[in-house]
Each structure stands twice: as C-alpha cells, then as structure tokens.
C-alpha cells in the first residue's frame, strides 16, 4: 500500500520466480527508486540474500557478476553485456519510466502469478496473530497475579502484553544462547511450561483475578458523563486507526525494515538468535526483545499480514491505559484523565510510532511505566509495586541499547531522593534484582560476545572519550540539539514526525502550576519532576556524545532526537495533569472547610 503499486508488482515478481536460497545482485545506485541498498532489500526479498554492487568497476562486483549462480536485477545499463552470456533472462512486463527490466539467473521457478490473499485467509491469519497476542497477554497477566492478590482490570490490561512479551522473549533469548533451536515445538513447549508453573504458583494461594475496578472516586462523579463517553469513543477510534494502519502499511521505513523486522525473520529462519547477526544492521548490538517478538509471528504464519505489526499499537494502547490508570490513582477526574490520554494519542509523532514499527514506543512504555510503578511503590511502601517497576525497567534495558543507562540513573535518583526526603519506603532488593536479572545477561552477551565492539554506540563513546581526554570539547552539538528541540517542539509545521501542539500546552500547564511542584508543597511531584528532568538530560547527553562521531549529525538528530524525547514528554504530561489533580483535591478540601465554617 505504501510503497506503491509498481514496487509491489516488481517485488512480488522477483520473490515469485527467484528460489528462496538464491543470492540476488542489486544494481548500482542510478535512477531514483532503484533497489540498490542491501540492508533495505533484505526485508523485501527475505529469505533471499541480496548483495550490493557499489560500482561495476570494483573487483567485488566483477566477481559477483561472474558468478554463474547469481541472480542479477537488470536495468537498462546493468549488468554489462559481457556478463549476460549463458544466463537465462526472465523479462518483466515493461512499464515506461520504470527502471526494472527483468532478472538474469541460472534458472527460474514457474511464476504462480501474483495472487492477492482472499478475505478468508486474511481473517484466518488475523485470528492466528490475535491468538499469539492473547497468549502473551495471558502469560503477562499470570506473572502479575503472582505479585499481587488484587488488580484493577485496567492496570492489569496495561501491563499484561508488555510484561508477557518481554518475559517470553527474554527466556527465548536465554534458551537460544544455550544453543537450543527455536522452532514452533520448542517455543510452544516453553510457553506451556511457563503457564503450568505460573498456574501452580497462583492456584494454591487462592489468588484470583478481581475484575472489579475500584478507582478512588471524586464526590461529584457517579457514572461516566456523555463527555467521557465521547472522549472514550474518540480514543477507541484513534486506537482502531492505529491498528489498521500499522498492519495495513506493513514495514516500510528505514529502522523497521533494516533492524526490527528482518532480524526477527532471520531468527525464525535460522532458529537461533544468532540468525539476527547476518540480517542487517547493527549485528547483535541491539537488544532482541522486539526482533524476538517479530520472530514468534514469523514462526507461526510467516508474518503474512504482517501480524507482528500488532505489537506497536498494542504498546501504544498499553501506554495510554497506563497513563489513564496512574492519573486516576492521583484522584484526577475521568474527563481530565481521558483528555490527557487523548492528547498523547493524537500527537503526530506518537501516532506515527504506533503504526511504523520503531522500538521507541515499546521502550517508552517500559521506561515510563517502570518509573511510575517504582514511584507509587516507594510512596505506598509496596514491595511488589517496586518489584514490578524494576521488572519494567529491566525490560526497557532489554528493548533498546541505551535502556540500561537510563534505568541505572532512574534507580540511583530514587535511592538518593528516598534517603533525603524520608518519604515512603524503599526495598533495595525489589528495586535492583529484576533489573539486574534482565539487564546483566544481555550486557554480558553483547559486551562479551563481543557484539557491542564496533557498534555505533561503541564508536560514539570511544570517539567522545578520546576527544575529551585530549581536552577537545565541542559544544556546537549542544547548540544543534537545542535548535532541533525548539524546531521540533514549537516551530515545525505539523508533520508525521512532529509533536503537534503537545509541548506548548504541556509546558503552559507545568509553568503556570510550577509552584505546586515545590518539595514542601508536593514532595511526590517534586521527586517525579527530578526523574523527568534526569531522563531529559540523559537523552540530551547521549545525543551530545554522538555529536563527536556522527558525520551527518544534523540530519541524524533531526530524525532521531524528537522520537528519543517520547519518555520525557509522556512523563511531562503525567506530571502536569497530576498537579491539576492535586489542585482539584485542594479545591474539594476548601469546599469541605467552607461547608464546615458555614455550619
């Protein structure tokens, strides 16, 4: 749908006639829209291996052209005539102005003709994918029920899929690291074993799912108003659109095509996490939570829909449910909480990430939820809540490479602030253990592998360290970050990558009510604002470190910085609305005191 009809016809034709185990030589860069990038075309030609010919004059390209087993995509000027002899040619239907002329190769499979899937097969694939999602939700919910006896349904729904998926992929990673083949049997066996174990843990203690939602209600609020229903319907429409666009558009952009999807396909194809190494880019330097989730869908049905694109709107919905339930915990009224969630859900960059297949939104979910669960856990002296928060932080470290740094900073700040403020109670073992269980094995694997060596993160830190040791400080990167921030947050026209009107609105709320965040007035708000500032500064710090080594730094931050700000932005909206909730409470207290004085 998104690549265009001609691209779809060409890709379909190539995968129809070229055998699965073939190697395809791509033409050098020429006309616009030529398929010249190996790292992008791996996804579209999967499992065929495309290789790049940077220039006909190079020895590598000459060797590849001379290989009689090679399949070569033909254009008007490629391959050169001397390499055509003795090869079969499969001619493509000619379209005026289109670069693709056909394929040279040793032999071709009989074309079946491009057949679109029937409605029935779409429904069957969708049901199969929905069953995978449901299974992961059940796993997550079962894990959560071992921690607490009673759950609010929305809180459970918010956490079930991300926790289930994160835990399951982590165990798959450990199994594969131990050289156990990942196939439908081993994956199914692991799932069944987990469910049986969790069932045995939950059952004897009589813990049952309590479906009664017991939000602390405000006095004037008895049942949802018409306005609340309208907001809820609008929210459901946005979520529905997100699911439809995510699956309908498939994978089409650089990172989703080059990292998150194709690595999952590689893992499923080879039956091992090491399969991700040969499928572009970054080898095994990036954590495998998302690729392993994708691989589950690929194992089940070849990711035909692709069902793995359900992952991203699910994280968006989980995040919305999380924001809503935490705001309701703060005694914010239903309408304001729904408005806050709708404000986040309609931010262009948030919607874009819920349909596009990047790992930033899943990562934001884990980081933000982890921060909020720990925050609530310390305040209420709940060991299980702190454990859940730490588990979520561990999964953040298992989702993106920079996650571990953020999580350690979050924990250090909580530990320090709890000592200074003496509010609530902190359980160090519950805070550190789950994070360590998730982060350490991946850290040992990626650094000891050594898969981190030579990665962009490794290069960035090395270049930065060597420059700083020599006393070469360059603050121009900070200025560029500042200008990109201002442009993305306030000045840019609304595009799919922009923040819409989110920052002006949230900053107004925060600035006008800033007095309500003073430590002696609202210690919890103060602690959370320190965490939010720390996450923002860490994000800026990471991009500043990269400014020393990125040649195309300006375009890099233009593309990447706004999306890296997702966790900070979501914490900001939560902070802003929780202040309003506090003020609402003060209002009700005043009302009570007035009534008393009137009496």
């Amino acid at each position: 749908m998104s690549l265009g009809a001609q691209a779809r016809r060409t890709i379909s034709l190539i995968v129809d006639v070229v055998p699965d185990d073939a190697t395809i030589l791509l033409p050098p860069i020429g006309e616009p829209r030529r398929y010249s990038l190996t790292r992008s075309m791996q996804y579209f030609f999967f499992p065929r291996a495309p290789i790049q010919c940077t220039s006909i004059e190079t020895d590598t390209c000459q060797q590849d052209l001379g290989d009689s087993e090679m399949y070569i995509l033909a254009t008007e000027d490629f391959p050169p005539a001397e390499f055509i002899a003795g090869r079969e040619f499969f001619e493509s239907p000619q379209i005026e102005g289109w670069w693709f002329k056909g394929i040279y190769g040793p032999e071709f499979e009989v074309p079946s003709g491009y057949q679109t899937m029937t409605i029935t097969s779409y429904i069957l694939f969708f049901l199969q994918d929905a069953a995978i999602v449901l299974a992961l939700c059940i796993l997550g919910a079962s894990v959560l029920l071992t921690f607490r006896t009673r759950w609010h349904l929305l809180e459970l729904l918010s956490l079930a899929f991300p926790i289930g998926a994160g835990l399951f992929t982590f165990l798959l990673f450990l199994l594969s690291w131990m050289n156990i083949q990942l196939n439908p049997t081993s994956v199914g066996f692991l799932y069944t074993a987990l469910i049986v174990i969790l069932f045995l843990i939950i059952r004897p203690s009589g813990k049952k799912l309590n479906r009664k939602i017991e939000w602390p209600k405000l006095s004037a609020e008895t049942r949802p108003s018409v306005f609340s229903w309208t907001l809820l319907i609008a929210l459901l429409c946005v979520c529905g659109l997100s699911v439809a666009f995510s699956v309908g558009l498939s994978y089409r952009l650089t990172d989703p095509v080059q990292i998150w999807s194709v690595k999952g396909y590689g893992i499923s194809h080879v039956g091992s996490i090491f399969g991700a190494k040969s499928w572009r880019v970054h080898d095994l330097a990036y954590p495998l939570n998302i690729p392993l989730q994708v691989s589950i869908f690929h194992l089940a049905d070849g990711d035909a829909l692709p069902g793995s694109k359900l992952i991203y709107p699910l994280y968006a919905v989980s995040l919305c449910l999380g924001i809503y339930s935490f705001l309701r915990r703060q005694r914010l009224d239903q309408e304001s909480a729904l408005l806050a969630v709708l404000l986040v859900a309609t931010v262009p960059i948030f919607f874009f990430h819920s349909v596009s297949g990047f790992a930033n939104l899943p990562y934001s979910f884990y980081l933000v939820s982890g921060v909020l669960w720990i925050h609530g856990g310390i305040r209420t002296a709940s060991k299980s809540d702190q454990f859940i928060g730490s588990l979520l932080l561990g999964m953040a470290a298992w989702t993106r490479p920079e996650g571990i740094g953020f999580c350690v900073i979050v924990l250090i700040i909580y530990i320090h602030l709890e000592r200074i403020t003496r509010r609530g109670r902190l359980y160090p073992s519950a805070l550190i253990l789950p994070l360590a269980i998730f982060a350490l094995p991946w850290f040992v694997f990626s650094v000891g592998g050594p898969y981190m060596q030579g990665s962009n993160l490794d290069q960035a830190v090395s270049v930065y360290s060597s420059e700083v040791i020599q006393g070469n400080f360059d603050f121009s990167g900070l200025w560029m970050l500042f200008s990109v921030f201002i442009k993305a947050m306030f000045l840019s026209s609304i595009t799919d990558y922009s923040w819409g009107v989110f920052f002006p609105v949230v900053l107004i709320i925060l600035l006008v009510n800033a007095r309500a965040l003073r430590p002696h007035v609202n210690m919890e708000g103060f602690v959370l604002s320190v965490q939010t500032a720390a996450i923002a500064l860490t994000t800026i710090g990471i991009f500043y470190v990269r400014s020393y080594s990125k040649s195309g730094y300006a375009s890099f931050i233009d593309r990447s910085f706004p999306r890296a700000f997702l966790p900070t932005a979501i914490l900001m909206v939560y902070l802003g609305l929780s202040i309003l909730a506090k003020r609402g409470d003060e209002g009700s207290e005043d009302e009570v005191s007035l009534q008393k004085s009137g009496e």
């Binding site: 001609q6 691209a7 919607f351 609105v505 709320i509 209002g587 005043d590 007035l594």
Partner: protein, 48 residues
Amino acid sequence: MHKIILFIRENARVFWLAILGFAIAVQLIFLFDKFLSSLGLACETGLG
C-alpha cells in the same frame, strides 16, 4: 471571598480542560488532514 476562590478554581479546571480539548481538536484535524494522507494511501506514490 472563599466563594470567589472556589469559583476561580472551578473555572480553572474548565479552563485547563478547554485548552486540552482545543489541543486535541487541532491535533486530530492535522492527523486526518496531513498525516494520514502522507502515509501513502495514494498507491502510486512512494517507491513505485
């Protein structure tokens, strides 16, 4: 005096809700107008 304070606070909530509502309306309009069309619903755009 207390009633005036209460009145202001009551309206402050409406004020903030109105701002949030307005922001959502703006974002929804842009979401439908620009973003959804730029996603490539027109099939002959993009790569092909």
